[in-house]
């Protein structure tokens, strides 16, 4: 790996040294690199009456418009794009090159599990018999799709230690809402309307937001100085108004909640439920199952642990697993079998109903199933162990400069902090931006909120030791830069098309769409 190291060194050249790739004739202005030129909006590239994709041989049908008549039809789509197919392709290909991406570089975004996404999984989802299957297809003609979903439910149940899984929710947050509505139905069925959900101060923002949507008051529970929740504290806050406790395990500090079982016990004593946010399940495969921890409800982010591509922000999928006592409340339809065939069961009187159309983000389910088949029992167990190894390796290598926010052992991610703001006035955001100059996507920053200037690093198991070493070298480099020449860091990035994007301006005067001149 001499080669790979060479990279990190090349980048990390002393800030005094004249970078050797500068042309000798420094006199010349260096024009902006073509790949750094601003890209016009698709609307600005439009030319009146230019045509892109066409119907059969550019056949234009006015008849449809005539059938409906002018009263119902709009006159025109003024401002809509008018480009040839080649120009549309060129536009979006150019745009694509303005993204950092997991497939191209290290992307240790904490809490997001940016692991390798096998392209086979995308091909499987695109099979005509899967991608072309209409959701209203009669069940007896869609047995393959239903079978796939049933197998995925079973695999997820076994992996999480839950009794039943619903593939319905579109993402983690919808899974949370689903789970909390299940809790609500559970309590209502017992004739009580509980009002509170306990949520740790380290929780992801979706947790309180989901609790609120589900009609609960989010009561914050403090994690202790070591970064975890104490059963005693839970007991202190527990009363008969508490419907559930929502806890992420390992939590957003990357710490496995050591008292999770006694916390579950405490909750169950009061018939309150343990909601386990499974966004960090990548730390637990074959190591500890939410079900065994005492969780009544868990949501699973397939786009994290089960490697469905993040797509620049989705789509994902957020299946929910529950224990037996909550199964009857799961969203409709459920997949059930009759006479050896699968069918969609809508006859579920206790169900919370639906949160979205149809049966879940099927295309994502196919990818997750393919991923589970590929890793299997051995691969999944190994994946979590290596994810943990990677996180602890990075934490250890950086500890002198970027100490861990907690003394506890890290699981799949580590949350680090630093004193550069005090020592050099360099902020976490500035460190993150400087990382971009090294071709590395920054970790999640300023989260969890309890850690000042947090750097939340989740390498994932698919990154090699060499890649981690390059990251460590870059972080060490930035640390010394911050002390030697803070402005160098504060002005970063220096090597991208943009630098210091004015986000305040965007919020102050929102421009949310293009307007024709």
């Amino acid at each position: 790996m001499a080669g790979a190291r060479k990279i990190s060194l090349a980048v990390a050249k002393p800030s005094t040294e004249q970078p050797k790739e500068e042309p000798p004739h420094g006199s010349h202005p260096i024009p902006r690199a073509p790949e750094h030129e601003p890209i016009p909006l698709i609307f600005e590239l439009s030319v009146r009456s230019r045509r892109g994709a066409n119907l059969a041989a550019d056949r234009t049908s006015q008849r449809g418009a005539d059938i409906l008549g002018a009263k119902l039809c709009r006159t025109d789509l003024a401002g809509f794009p008018e480009l040839s197919e080649p120009d549309v392709m060129r536009h979006f290909l150019k745009l694509s090159r303005r993204n950092f991406a997991q497939a191209l570089q290290f992307y240790p975004l904490g809490s997001c599990t940016m692991k390798y996404n096998p392209v086979l999984n995308d091909e499987m989802a695109a099979l005509p018999e899967l991608a072309g299957l209409h959701p209203r297809t009669p069940e007896h003609l869609a047995q393959g799709a239903l079978e796939l979903m049933v197998r995925l439910e079973a695999a997820l149940a076994s992996i999480t230690g839950m009794d039943a899984v619903s593939l319905h929710p579109a993402a983690g947050a919808q899974g949370e809402l689903c789970g909390l509505l299940l809790a609500r139905s559970y309590h209502l069925a017992k004739g009580r309307a509980r009002t509170k959900v306990l949520i740790p101060d380290t929780a992801h923002g979706t947790n309180p937001a989901s609790a609120h949507l589900a009609g609960y008051k989010a009561v914050t529970i403090r994690s202790n100085p070591r970064g975890f929740i104490e059963a005693a504290e839970v007991r202190r806050l527990l009363d008969d108004d508490v419907a559930a406790l929502m806890v992420t395990n390992p939590n957003t500090l990357g710490v496995f909640e050591p008292e999770i079982q006694s916390i579950a016990a405490a909750l169950h004593e009061r018939d309150a439920l343990l909601y386990l946010d499974g966004a960090n399940l990548n730390a637990l495969l074959g190591i500890a199952r939410p079900g065994d921890m005492g969780a009544d409800i868990v949501q699973i982010n397939l786009h994290k642990t089960f490697s469905t591509p993040h797509g620049g922000g989705g789509p994902g999928a957020g299946p929910v697993g529950v224990k037996r006592h909550l199964e009857s409340f799961l969203p409709t339809p459920r997949i059930a079998s009759r006479a050896g065939a699968w069918y969609l069961d809508y006859d579920r009187p206790a169900s919370i109903g639906r949160l979205r159309s149809f049966y879940g983000n099927f295309g994502m389910l196919v990818r997750a199933y393919a991923y589970i088949l590929a890793l299997g029992s051995d691969g999944l167990a190994r994946a979590s162990r290596l994810a943990i190894l990677n996180a602890n390796y990075v934490r250890k290598r950086l500890e002198d400069r970027f100490p861990s926010a907690t003394p506890e052992r890290s699981m799949h991610e580590c949350v680090l902090t630093h004193d550069l703001d005090k020592r050099a006035g360099v902020s976490t955001l500035e460190i993150a931006k400087r990382l971009l100059d090294f071709g590395i996507h920054p970790p999640t920053i300023y989260f969890p909120l309890v850690v000042p200037g947090a750097l939340m690093i989740e390498p994932t198991e698919t990154e090699s030791r060499e890649t981690l070493d390059e990251f460590v070298a870059a972080m060490e480099r930035i640390y010394s830069e911050a002390l030697a020449d803070p402005q160098l860091v504060k002005d970063a990035p220096h090597t991208l098309a943009l630098s210091h994007v004015d986000e305040a301006e965007a919020a102050r005067h929102p421009i949310l769409s293009w307007q024709p001149k």
Binding site: D76, L95, S96, L127, A209, G286, G312, P510, S513
Partner: protein, 449 residues
């Protein structure tokens, strides 16, 4: 394992750095009784060839369905998807990046979403659109919640019965915790298949929060949105339009033009496969005045230090990771890549192409209806329709089975969702159908009916 780079030597060296004796040593702090029970009980890993083979075998069991002539719609629509859409959305840079928090490293996604937002405002005739929602149903539910934030004092949500069952269910579920809100179902006019205007008028009072109507609706009927909005506004309520067949917006008057305050819908028709119901892409647009109550992400235009125009996520103060329980929604991961697909699709078809395709869909649907009429089967409703229409059959079950035997998926039976229409099926037509499909369908149905 081919995705895991670690060699035994790597592991040993890294463990030494970490100061652990073994991989299991790293998890020794996890309670033993948990570890003991955690062994995963599924098959061991497979090679890529075996994975591909086993999924292909499952897919094979759906084969007949995808090879049949189809008239299925009812919320998800069969349309031709240009190859360019697949080719762009499969670019690793788009597919394997995440939420564009770091603007300098995410301009590709950010600009594409800004273009998506613009396209949605153009289609809906409203001023602001967000970066995407999960789907049409959840977008409709979020729209009602948004209306609730805009007019917290009002309590009645009028949901048209001609809204897709999934949309109605999602609204009920999302609102189930809001005890103050009452969801009332608006009946439809048995002749036209559109909202019963009188019933709406009866509801239109000071406590009416909003009206939600399909445009076009579940029966393919183009609702009189202007009238509905007028009545709602008359009562000081909000008009929300929901569109499942977004292609219609390429030809019909925009919801905004007709007075809708919030327009939501499903963008699956714009370059996304039906893939057994998801992922599609929800969209939401509204008036500038209600911007701060809008759920979901927003991409805004700005500039960098050198004055270069660029884009970034903005108004995050509405969102959960900052606002937490006071956020406008809990949505985090959205359907960004699907929004990109829609953006590419709409850019390819363009100003004229989208209108032409919508018009062709209308034309073909009406040709189909006409052909069925020659077989004595006439539309159940008199309201104008886009590319779907309802027919009544003496024996729908037998008809659907007969059609299936002839390689035709005749349509969606309405009985299960509409007790009052036990003998009706919904026929959906698109550019993927051709005239002789209509003849074959008519012949089969005529035979049985």
């Amino acid at each position: 394992m081919r995705f895991l780079p670690h060699t035994e030597a790597d592991i040993a060296a890294m463990l030494e750095v970490v100061g652990a004796a073994s991989l299991d040593d790293l998890i020794a702090h996890v309670p033993a009784e948990l570890r003991d029970r955690a062994a995963i009980r599924i098959a061991p890993g497979l090679g890529e060839q075996q994975v591909a083979a086993s999924i292909a075998a499952l897919a094979e069991r759906n084969r007949d369905a995808v090879r049949m002539t189809s008239f299925l719609g009812a919320g998800y629509y069969r349309h031709y998807i240009p190859a360019a859409v697949r080719s762009i959305t499969s670019r690793a840079e788009f597919a394997t990046s995440y939420t564009p928090y770091q603007a300098e490293a995410s301009q590709g996604t950010l600009q594409a979403i800004f273009e998506f937002q613009t396209l949605i405002t153009q289609l809906t005739g409203l001023e602001v659109a967000n970066a995407s929602m999960y789907d049409g149903a959840s977008a409709a539910a979020e729209a009602v919640l948004m209306a609730h934030r805009l007019a917290p004092a009002r309590s009645i949500v009028a949901v048209s019965r001609t809204l897709w069952p999934d949309y109605r269910a999602a609204i009920r579920t999302y609102l189930s915790a809001l005890r103050s809100i009452e969801v009332v179902e608006l009946p439809f006019d048995a002749t036209t298949g559109a909202v019963d205007i009188d019933a709406l008028k009866r509801l239109a009072g000071p406590s009416l929060l909003c009206v939600v109507a399909g445009y076009p609706n579940m029966f393919g009927v183009i609702e009189p949105l202007a009238t509905i909005a007028e009545i709602a506004h008359g009562a000081g309520a909000l008009a929300i339009s929901a569109t499942a067949e977004a292609l219609a917006l390429g030809l019909l008057k925009s919801p905004g033009e007709l007075g809708a305050d919030i327009a939501v819908g499903e963008g699956q028709s714009f370059g996304l496969p039906v893939q057994f119901g998801g992922p599609g892409v929800g969209f939401m647009a509204a008036r500038t005045g209600s911007l701060r109550q809008m759920p979901g992400r927003l991409v805004g235009q700005t500039h960098d230090r050198n004055g270069t125009r660029c884009f970034c996520l903005t108004l995050a103060t509405r969102e959960q990771h900052i606002r937490r329980e006071r956020a406008t929604s809990n949505i985090c991961t959205n359907h960004s890549l699907c929004a990109l697909a829609a953006t590419v699709y709409l850019s390819l078809l363009g100003r004229q192409g989208l209108r032409d395709l919508a018009s062709l869909n209308v034309e073909l649907a009406h040709d189909a209806a006409a052909r069925l009429a020659t077989a004595g089967i006439t539309p159940r409703f008199s309201g104008p329709f886009f590319n779907e229409f309802v027919i009544r059959l003496s024996n729908p079950v037998a008809c659907i089975q007969a059609a299936e035997r002839n390689g035709i998926l005749a349509g969606v039976p309405l009985g299960p969702d509409y007790r009052e229409l036990p003998d009706c099926i919904l026929i959906s037509v698109s550019e993927l159908n051709n005239p002789d499909d209509f003849a074959r369908l008519a012949d089969v149905l005529a035979e049985v009916a």
